[in-house]
């Protein structure tokens, strides 16, 4: 509970101070280029990976990418690059 509150506080502080949330609060940063490329920074790992569905652990947010013929082009501790036809991106707390 405390951890959640601390995360909220950091997120609000970042918003107040106009600082990037991904740096101060460690929030995931999702970037989509067209329909073919999706980059996630500050991820915490993969939960599920198929060519139609990729679930990414974003810490406080769960990111679900649905698409067609999707592949993980590269993955490091910080960033993850998905390629393929992206249909939707869902964010769940």
């Amino acid at each position: 509970m405390n951890r959640l509150k601390s995360g909220d506080l950091l997120e609000k502080t970042a918003a107040r101070l106009s600082l990037p949330g991904e740096i101060l609060a460690g929030l995931p940063k999702v970037e989509i280029t067209g329909r073919g490329t999706l980059t996630v920074e500050n991820h915490r790992g993969l939960l599920e990976y198929t060519q139609e569905r990729i679930e990414i652990n974003g810490g406080r947010i769960m990111i679900t990418v649905r698409g067609d013929g999707m592949n993980i082009r590269s993955m490091s501790a910080d960033a993850l690059l998905v390629e393929g036809t992206i249909i939707s991106v869902e964010l769940d707390s």
Binding site: G45, L46, E48, Y49, N71, I72, R73, S74, M75
Partner: protein, 401 residues
Amino acid sequence: MMERLVNLLRGSVRVKIEGARGERFLNVCSREGIEFWQLERVSEAELRVSVHASKTARVLECARRAGFEAEVLKRSGAPFAAKRIKGRWVMAFGLLFCWALVWVSSLFVWEIEVYGSENVSSAEIKAAVEKAGVRFGTFGPSISQEDVRSIALLELPQLAWLTVNFNGSRAEIIVRERVEKPEMLEDSKPADIVAAKSGIITEQYVCRGQELFKAGDTVLAGEKLVSGVQTNRQGGQYRVHAVAQVYARTWYELSARIPAVYYQKRYTGENIEYININFMGNRTNLYFTGRNPERGYDIIYQNRSFRLSKGLVLPAALEKTVCREYELVPEQMPAEQARALLERELTERLKGQIDGEIVSSECSVIRQGDIFTVTLRAECLEQIGKTAAIDAAEGEAGFAG
């Protein structure tokens, strides 16, 4: 591109990972800082990834710790190639030497191609650039574009622009021909429109000047059709440059002759083949078959240059020359064939003479001894008006332009 080059230099390994929930393995790799690419999900329980060669042991260790079975499928890249050629230094040196030889060879011109010429022949252009120093075997970097352009354009005034592009050992000469200045209508001098040919006028469009005939009139070649001398309302005369188009029906009769007996080539089946190798302009005969030809013969020449890519031509070519011997056999030409042959030629000749179209035509053929005479009679519809300057003595009217 750069990424592929780095992977090639560092070496990469393709690894097969088997086990349930392959995502766990990927998470372990990312936590351990193991970079991977070309991730492929073959089945629910099988993943394939590429990793740098130096990380192979760590990947296998990570897979084992996470409860997966790992297997190296393929090793590629410079480190593995170096291991393969270890102890075969002569072969490596030979490969390097060949590569160096090809690279040095690519600095010289071994092929010259001409693009963009229509009226000036490629041979003329090649001869002109040869004077400027671009020839078979020239060292490419020593050629100055400016010098080639200046010298070649002076040699060939028909060309408006020329450039030489080097694509490996191939010199591409791109030219643009000079466009002839069109004949300008000199509008400042008084002129009439006269008939260039005899015919019956069908219609006329007079923009300026006084028309002297009407549709249906017959005119002779040289007759004045539209006068450049006009009369104003006060009865005074002034001279203008007449502008008009006069269309008329015209008739032509063209004849041509052809021998009734012609000689047909009949191949005897005797062929002579030469195979030469041309290395840096020096030709060496490799193979010769047959006897020397006694009668006439056709020469079929084939050249195959050795090239590694489009722009990388080696200074060697294989040349094959085939001489096919034939004898000439007299044949009688049928009248219909003579007629068809000459009718086509006469029609083309007529089209070049008229400024209009052929309305109707008929063709006849007469044989006189061993000669066929083919006559084409045609009715045409064409523009017959041509501009003719007014004599200074004609009239004393002022010029109105």
